[in-house]
Symmetry: C2
């Protein structure tokens, strides 16, 4: 039996949005409600994600603020913050609440503004993002997130022989996918040579190995299994796993395996009663190209050590045997931190409904979303399926 169902999905374009967070979130919220054929009064609670607006623009306690702008003043709302896994954790809690009968229907979503065009200075935002790494052990060393994921990836290269060219193929693939997505931050294709010619950000990552800072919002309507069939196009949520890990990279015995992702995936697959072999495609947290390689292995979509070759040989492209990030991923679609988790759920919903337009995958009956926070320390993995 499904744990819950997604019956409405909405998101803004990811990119630059110079409007207040409340208005930006409302656009996604109304999109999700309209898609579900629902009114604000039809949802009983809001599970809301925002990662860093306190630091970025001195606004906290956003829950009641965005609820009011989405026509839900007075509703119980809770704000989640778990770094880049913020709205996936909101989704996990919402699915549990709906499954348990705490609520019959809820709205889940997230919002973030991160771009210099809206006043978020890039250097300052890099420091803000770094607040998710370890305050005492890592920040004093100047370790910002390109460095965090560079270290994880370097270890993977050491263990498995992964190459910079293989990483570049991840960027090329996701830019190619993003070019088909009208809501993607980047709509242009790139070549392996362009990626490898880019300036080094943090060895082994060059500029185009890195996802952008984006503004954006996403939201989904989650209802109980019992209510699902009263909506036009429900998609089942059959498993949601959640695990954490120690934060400092130096404390992780095998950093490149991203253990929390493996723990979360195991939990999600077990709930859904499936294995990685049963998954038709995945949206994974490719904040850097190396992160996608690690995720593809942690989810069991390819064997350990095969993440790099799988990208280079086209296995993870939209016409490969295990498509990864048909939306363009964080790399091309963009990464408005608190909106990313539920944006993955939006992509799964649209693909599983067959409503993904130019980027529709031909074979999309079951999919997995992988949203990661901080030093690979919080991971939420969700399994969704065409309603049975």
């Amino acid at each position: 039996m499904p744990r819950a169902a997604v019956v409405g999905a909405g998101m803004t374009e990811f990119g630059i949005h110079d409007i207040p967070l409340e208005e930006l979130f409302a656009e996604a919220a109304f999109g999700a409600l309209d898609d579900a054929g629902a009114e604000p009064a039809d949802v009983e609670a809001l599970y809301f994600g925002n990662a860093m607006s306190g630091q970025a623009e001195n606004t906290t306690h956003l829950g009641p603020k965005v609820a009011t702008h989405a026509g839900m003043a007075g509703i119980p709302v809770q704000r989640f913050e778990d770094a880049c896994a913020t709205s996936a954790n909101a989704f996990k809690n919402a699915v549990a609440a709906v499954e348990a009968g705490v609520h019959d229907a809820v709205l889940v979503g997230g919002v973030e503004r991160c771009t210099p065009e809206t006043g978020r200075d890039t250097a300052a935002m890099t420091r803000v993002f770094a607040s998710a790494s370890h305050r005492q052990y890592e920040q004093p060393a100047g370790l910002t997130f390109p460095g965090v994921f560079a270290l994880l990836t370097k270890r993977h290269m050491y263990e498995h022989g992964t190459t910079e060219e293989q990483l570049a193929h991840v960027a090329v693939k996701n830019h190619g996918h993003g070019a088909l997505n009208p809501r993607a931050h980047f709509g242009k294709e790139v070549t392996v040579e362009e990626v490898l010619d880019g300036p080094v950000v943090a060895d082994p990552f060059r500029l185009m190995d890195c996802c952008p800072f984006s503004d954006g919002a996403s939201a989904v309507v989650v209802v109980s299994d019992e209510l699902a069939d009263s909506y036009d196009a429900p998609v089942d949520v059959t498993g949601v796993g959640h695990a954490t890990d120690v934060v400092p990279i130096a404390d992780k015995p095998t950093p490149h395996v991203t253990q929390a992702a493996r723990d979360a995936a195991e939990e999600a697959y077990e709930q859904a009663g499936v294995s990685a072999d049963d998954v038709d495609f995945a949206e994974v947290h490719d904040c850097f190209t190396g992160a996608e390689v690690l995720a593809s292995e942690a989810l069991g979509l390819v064997a350990d050590g095969e993440g790099g070759p799988a990208a280079a040989t086209g296995r993870t492209a939209r016409d490969g045997d295990v498509p990864i990030n048909p939306s363009g991923g964080l790399k091309a679609k963009g990464h408005p931190i608190g909106a990313t988790g539920t944006a993955q759920v939006v992509e799964l919903t649209e693909q599983l409904r067959g409503e993904a337009g130019a980027r529709q995958l031909p074979d999309a009956d079951r999919a997995v979303a992988h949203n990661l926070g901080g030093d690979a320390a919080t991971t939420v993995v969700s399994v969704m399926e065409v309603r049975g």
Copy 2:
């Protein structure tokens, strides 16, 4: 039937703690676990509250960081932020999860460092706190929280004739209660004259109408009703209500009634099957003296307009007919934002067990906690009772 039970409670002294947030939280977490006779491995998840460490000390994604220091690396953890109602909202979600069977036993708690002695400049923290008010409508006017609650209280004075002297009695009472609490930030008694002679902070509030900036942490172990009797001293949680309101004061039709508190109280009482008349004592969110007056009325503990007179005539003192804030409240116990909600639950637990030492109330079988966030926009009200 109880919704859940609290079987362990722990908190640090509230005051000045110049140690990292992870260590500060661990002190409360281990206190709660020891009190329950439990090990870290006995809890299945952490519901964690922190309001503003991102802004105050550039550390976010605190969930896995504090979990690791509390001996729970790998556990699913979610961080909540709902301004000053942060850890009460974590408690609400934890109670729902345990009641629903999502988990059998969880740890709930919060932590904050706010004092200049630990590097949090008071002027800067005042701006940080103000991030919970409305970014576009209120912050540009310079409206910080003394002003927010001064406006709410001024309206109450206009409607009901509440006086500054009555407000001063709230401070006198709570300082008196706090003098009996070894964990209180302020341990000294004050007089009405001293309060009324203090410098004006925001009319009608003088210095001693305002709670302090504090450092501290609190935590409780919450288990299912089924598991409760396997612990030594369970206390039942019979109701938890949660409501929000529009944020800008100018948008509230009747600001002094704090509508979210009334909505949350109604929900909590209904779950518990009780009325305000059945409540033996309360811990309420007295960030300012006026806030306690408003809360005492919103909870139905005294009639509308009687909050001021009730304080002045001793009705809300520990030997009155409806004792409020036997812990000393935020006013004297202190207010480490993200720790305040669960600290109220700690006080209820100790009083209902008869373990409150010098501040023990003689008649304590059922109590209510009221934790408020932002411009009275998020409120969580909890009812707890001696196990039936």
